[in-house]
Symmetry: C2
Subunit: 234 residues, 2 copies
DNA sequence: TTCGTTGGCGAACGCCGTTCTACTAGCGAA
DNA sequence: TTCGCTAGTAGAACGGCGTTCGCCAACGAA
């Protein structure tokens, strides 16, 4: 929309900003990811993306069915960032932990994109590829079939939910507040609850405030993976 | 808004529908919950609630700071539905499983309210009460302090995420589609993926489609609680 | 060259959360 | 009883949203 570039008014107004046929699904997804990382899902609007591409919102609908489909595309693009290992039966537990930790990190790297994973079933090409590898690793480890299937569901929920929780900090930063300060206030609130009604909360206030996202995520993932390992027969 | 009740046009227009001073925080929360259950978070708007109460959106702001605060109030109201047991050390594992299962059910009973739990830290009076009881039960069971604190975080995420996933079905029903049919289509999609690239997915397609929300939730909860039990010293 | 198809996009529709402002009902004080 | 003040009520409007419509320009095939 460079707005300058004087031209005689009798010329037909050509090429508003970008050359014709310049929009594409990839360009939209790329722009969408950029906005997503910078402003989160709430800041991601068709208009915002269109502006990023120097056009109006209506133009996007030639390449994308609507915002829902775009969110699906964005999510699947993010899944691309997760490295998929060659399954090695001897190291199944290590591999699955690493894979899901990488997934967690990929989501966290991209704002609160995880919010679109919950509330819909991710079935993009990269998501199903990741599921396939996950299940193959667990099968190589000897986890029973039904446990594999359900574990996939449960871990998907856990990874997404944890990434969303982490995105709160990013949200606070965007609105100019310091996340550390916020969490200190939360801890203070818990510590100052009336002790006669909340003795355990008071007692554990230190532990409640201990550890960051990574540590907490690893703790929960260990519980789950450990439980799966316990189900390996023999 | 009974819309009838003819009155002479020279009368000052009195009492539009409801008597004056009739709005209150409780009335707004009650109306909000009704809308929430019927139409979900997406259908919940200040205007919609105001209509429900026979007034305009601006009137709500005398009792509630904004939509965010209202969502907090709604969530805490839902937590009220969770029965809190008297902690009994001998039955800690049973008690904590029951408590969190009840929480899961309460969330599922109220549309996709769980979506507001993720992305913010629930600190309403009823939420902190439930946390206190949860931690007390785990402490009675001998779970180490740091494990208790982190488990509370992790289970909160898990319960919410699972409830959200379940709300997909409700969402489908609202838009006139049959959830069972939808999930059949999903299963069909997985089964028909190219077998040479997705052998494990094909192999486990039956298991992937087996079991409803309750069964899957219980499976994951068992993994977590079992993991906690394993951390009890002695 | 012509014509049908398709991408681009300005304008508009009906929603949303929130704020501004005027008004008025009800209350305590005189 | 009357008066003035306060706090609740709500109409109108602002700026944003996703999406649709309809026109125009550009391109590929004939």
């Amino acid at each position: 929309m460079t707005a300058g570039q004087f031209e005689p008014p009798w010329w037909t107004p050509r090429k508003t900003g970008t050359p014709r046929r310049s929009l594409s699904r990839e360009a939209i997804v790329t722009a969408g990811l950029k906005v997503l990382r910078a402003e989160g899902v709430d800041g991601l609007s068709m208009r915002r993306i269109a502006t990023e591409l120097g056009t109006g919102p209506a133009s996007l609908y030639a390449h994308v069915a609507g915002k829902d489909e775009l969110l699906d595309l964005l999510f699947d693009q993010v899944v691309t960032e997760v490295p998929l290992p060659e399954p090695d039966p001897a190291r199944w537990r290590e591999q699955i932990t690493e894979l899901w930790t990488h997934a967690h990190e990929a989501l966290r790297r991209n704002g609160d994109i995880a919010r679109v994973a919950l509330g819909r079933v991710p079935m993009g090409p990269n998501a199903v590829r990741m599921s396939e590898v996950s299940m193959t690793i667990l099968r190589a480890g000897g986890v029973p079939p039904q446990a594999i299937a359900w574990a996939l569901d449960i871990v998907g929920l856990y990874v997404s939910a944890s990434a969303i929780e982490d995105a709160i900090s990013r949200q606070l930063e965007r609105s100019g507040r310091d996340p550390a300060e916020y969490y200190n206030q939360v801890a203070e609130y818990f510590k100052n609850l009336p002790a006669e009604h909340f003795p355990t909360t008071a007692l554990l206030s230190r532990e409640l405030a201990t550890g960051g996202r990574d540590e907490r995520f690893a703790f929960g993932l260990d519980l789950i993976v450990g439980g799966l390992a316990a189900q390996v027969p023999g």
